[in-house]
């Protein structure tokens, strides 16, 4: 029961909104009700924000002493360095048994970390969802904090921390990737829960179902497809991170990258980087193909 604006005021608003639309302004429902003066001020504010953003770019270049005059030749110099030092890539190195083994170790690390991470992320996401959390006062803030903590630390920092505590090897790599996975999947899982239709939840609660039963019957069926897609996507992102964690002392392909770099064996480095790009690409293609297939199969 809201008051209708008088008809001539509405006409003026319409004119204003149209001119703004021509400017590429997004029309929001609130705009139609705002008087013209507010709209003009909004346009001013928008211009100010743009000016501020561009000013910040100029200021940063100045502060950081970025030598703009050296930019033009940069591509040429990069190509030259690559050709003289990194070409040809030492393909023989990456076909050796130990390196190929490390590719599989990387896959296994990523798989293990994703499975464990997702198992941990499921209850956390449930507790951390604003609409379904079984304990608003305790579990909700705690699990939100846990997911945020996992996300706020970069996966490479997690690796450095894990290596410094657990020593070199596969374990710190898996641990760091697991934490990354909990943060990554946990947030996306919780967002999927927050987007569900509340109707079935009401229906299950009305039968006297407890919170776990309500979750299994009203929430899981609604998020199953989204979660499956997220899980596969998480695996592919974790795998990309797994190719590098070895660089900081955890296991996998990154370990060989570091070792070759320390010997300044540039052609080996080139081959390893090339192999990382290729396996990550394959993982990404595989992941998107699988997500498409599964979405079609269980939708």
């Amino acid at each position: 029961m809201h008051a209708k604006p008088s008809s001539d005021a509405a006409v003026i608003d319409d004119v204003e909104v149209t001119t703004l639309l021509e400017d590429g302004e997004r029309a929001v429902a609130g705009d139609a009700l705002a008087p013209p003066r507010t709209l003009r001020w909004r346009k001013w504010k928008r211009d100010l924000v743009w000016a501020g953003l561009i000013g910040l770019v100029v200021w940063s270049i100045d502060r950081l002493d970025i030598p703009l005059d050296r930019l033009p030749g940069i591509l040429g110099r990069m190509g030259e360095t690559l050709m003289t030092r990194y070409f040809p890539p030492d393909i023989a190195r990456i076909t050796q048994r130990d390196y190929l083994g490390s590719v599989f170790e990387t896959l296994e690390m990523a798989y293990l970390a994703t499975v464990v991470g997702i198992v941990l992320a499921i209850p956390l996401a449930w507790f951390a969802s604003a609409n379904m959390s079984p304990s608003k006062r305790i579990l909700y803030p705690l699990s939100r904090l846990a997911i945020m903590a996992c996300r706020s630390v970069h996966e490479m920092i997690w690796t450095i921390l894990a290596v410094s505590i657990l020593g070199f090897g596969m374990l710190p790599g898996v641990l760091a990737l697991t934490l990354f996975c909990v943060g990554f999947a946990g947030k996306l899982f919780a967002e999927a829960i927050e987007a569900i239709d509340q109707g079935p939840v009401d229906a299950m609660r009305a039968t006297g179902a407890n919170p776990l039963q309500t979750f299994v019957y009203a929430v899981l069926p609604q998020v199953r497809v989204a979660w499956t897609g997220t899980s596969i996507y998480t695996w592919d992102v974790v795998f990309r991170a797994a190719t590098v964690v070895g660089f900081f002392g955890a296991g996998g392909m990154g370990w060989y990258l570091r070792e070759s770099m320390q010997r300044i064996a540039s052609q080996e480095v080139a081959a390893i980087i090339l192999s990382i790009i290729i396996v990550v690409l394959i993982a990404e293609l595989f992941s998107s193909w699988l997500r498409g297939r599964i979405a079609r199969a269980i939708a």
């Binding site: 109707g199 079935p200 229906a203 009305a206 039968t207 006297g208 407890n210 019957y217 199953r224």
Partner: protein
Amino acid sequence: MSNIALEVRDLCAGYGDRQILKNVSFTVSPDDFFAIIGPSGAGKSTLIRCVNRLVEPTGGSVRLNGEEILDIGQRALRLARRNIGMIFQEFNLIERLSVLDNVLAGRLGHTGTTRSLFRMFRREDIAQALTLLDRVGLTDHVHKRADRLSGGQRQRVGIARALMQNPRLLLVDEPTSALDPKIAREVMGLIREVARERRIPVLCNIHDVKLALDFCSHIIGLQDGVKKFEGRPADLNEKAMHDIYALEVL
């Protein structure tokens, strides 16, 4: 057994300053089919949902067969809810589960958590679900997924799910607004029949006055959270209608 199934006293609900229900009182006997009518925004849906506390009331009393529902803890509330079946406007089925599993979900309050996790419902529950599906005319659709059904069929699943609880009260929230007029009458008729067979009192909120007059034994008129009318369908004269719908701008 007393002759009062549901007793609502001075029920109030709202958020902050906004009062949605203002001291609503009425009593329902086991054979009654109550319709709650009134303009949209009158608080009909809130009233129904306060009875099983899907919406938390701010004051008053709701007694089902003499037992207070408003001041009990979560666990006791779950036990109380087992006795109150609910049928929804949007059916609120679990789209990806089969019709049978949807009906069995009505039994969750009586099923242990571990059993329900693996959908291992008791043999007698499955037998009852099949009987109920037969009763609502869905024998041919038992193993179909719920989202494959038409609107009328889905509401029949909703009715079977509510009956699966062997409820002592049926709450019905706008059961027909998502259905076309012919199906709406069939669904209302079915609800009335099954309630009579089992002697379950019904509290049904419905915006269609014609349907309320044709299918219900009592009518409550709400306007802006206040009860403006209570009586038999025959008593709902022009003056009463004016009282209920006076504020609505046509």
